[in-house]
C-alpha cells in the first residue's frame, strides 16, 4: 500500500500526508501503519494468511554507520543501465533502510542480525520480489540475476502460529 503524499481536502475531509517525508507529520505515518495492521489483525482469515512487510525506500539523512554493502556477481553492463555512456555497475547496495516483517507465524522478539554480526544477513529490495515468487511459484526462471541472488524472508516464518492474545492491537 502506498501512503498519501500530500495534505489536501478530499470528500472525506482533511487528508494529512502519511508518507513520513519531511516536513510532514511523522505521527500520521505511524497512524497509517496502525490502521493497515489493525484491518488485517482484526480479520481472523486475513491475519493467519498475511505477512505485512513494512519497508522504506529511503533511509533519511545522508549518513550511515556501516558502509553500503557490495553485491558481487551482479554488475550491470553499460547496455543495461539505460543511459548511454553510463558505466556505473550497480554492484553495491545503498545505505540501510528499516524493514519490519509482521505475521503471527514469526516467533516473538525475532531480530535478524545484520552484516558483521554472528549469523548476520543482508536483505535488499530485490528480496521482496524474490520472496513473493519463491512463495507463490517456487521456481521462477524469469527472475533477474539480482533477484536470484537476493535473500528471502521465507525462513523467518515458523510452523507455529502465535496465540491471538500474544499479538498486540493498536488503539487510536
Amino acid at each position: 500500500m502506498e501512503p498519501n503524499y500530500t495534505d489536501h481536502e478530499d470528500a472525506g475531509g482533511e487528508q494529512i500526508a502519511c508518507d513520513q517525508h519531511p516536513d510532514h507529520d511523522v505521527q500520521q505515518g505511524e497512524l497509517f501503519v496502525a490502521q493497515v495492521y489493525n484491518a488485517i489483525r482484526q480479520n481472523p482469515d486475513l491475519w493467519k494468511s498475511t505477512a505485512i512487510l513494512l519497508v522504506y525506500d529511503e533511509h533519511g539523512g545522508i549518513y550511515d554507520l556501516p558502509p553500503p554493502a557490495r553485491k558481487t556477481g551482479v554488475k550491470a553492463t553499460p547496455d543495461q543501465t539505460g543511459v548511454p555512456g553510463l558505466t556505473f555497475e550497480f554492484d553495491r547496495l545503498g545505505v540501510r533502510v528499516p524493514a519490519v516483517l509482521i505475521s503471527p507465524w514469526i516467533p516473538k522478539a525475532t531480530v535478524v542480525p545484520g552484516p558483521g554480526e554472528p549469523g548476520g544477513r543482508t536483505f535488499e529490495h530485490a528480496s521482496i520480489p524474490r520472496t513473493v515468487t519463491k512463495f507463490f511459484l517456487d521456481d521462477y526462471p524469469e527472475a533477474t540475476r539480482r533477484e536470484r541472488m537476493a535473500d528471502t524472508f521465507m525462513d523467518l516464518l515458523s510452523d507455529t502460529m502465535r496465540p491471538d492474545n500474544d499479538c498486540p492491537v493498536f488503539d487510536f
Binding site: 503524499y5 510532514h24 491471538d164 500474544d166
Partner: protein, 86 residues
C-alpha cells in the same frame, strides 16, 4: 487479552495544504511527470493547467487527481492513436 498499544494522533496544526510545493520535491517532480503524461492524452481530456501556477501541496494534489482521472478515462488511448482512428 491482547496487549493494546496506544497510537497518538497528529496535532491540530499538522494539516497544511498551503505548504509551499517547492518544499516537497517528490510531489514537485510528480507534477512535472503528470504534465508530461497528460500531453499524451487526446486534447479534450487534457486539463489545460499551467503547472507553473501550482504553488501549494493542496493545488498539486488537486491537479494530480484531475490528470489521474483523465488517464483512467482515456483507457490508455493516446492523442496519436485517436487521431489515427479518425
Amino acid at each position: 487479552m491482547s496487549n493494546v498499544i496506544k497510537v497518538p494522533k497528529p496535532g491540530k496544526t499538522a494539516y497544511n495544504p498551503d505548504r509551499p510545493l517547492e518544499k516537497n520535491l517528490l510531489i514537485h517532480a510528480q507534477v512535472r511527470h503528470f504534465k508530461e503524461a497528460e500531453t499524451q492524452l487526446p486534447k479534450h481530456q487534457q486539463t489545460g493547467v499551467d503547472i507553473h501556477s501550482i504553488k501549494t501541496e493542496g493545488q498539486a494534489s488537486h491537479y494530480i487527481k484531475r490528470v489521474t482521472r483523465a488517464l483512467h478515462e482515456s483507457g490508455g488511448r493516446t492523442a496519436r492513436k485517436t487521431e489515427v482512428a479518425k
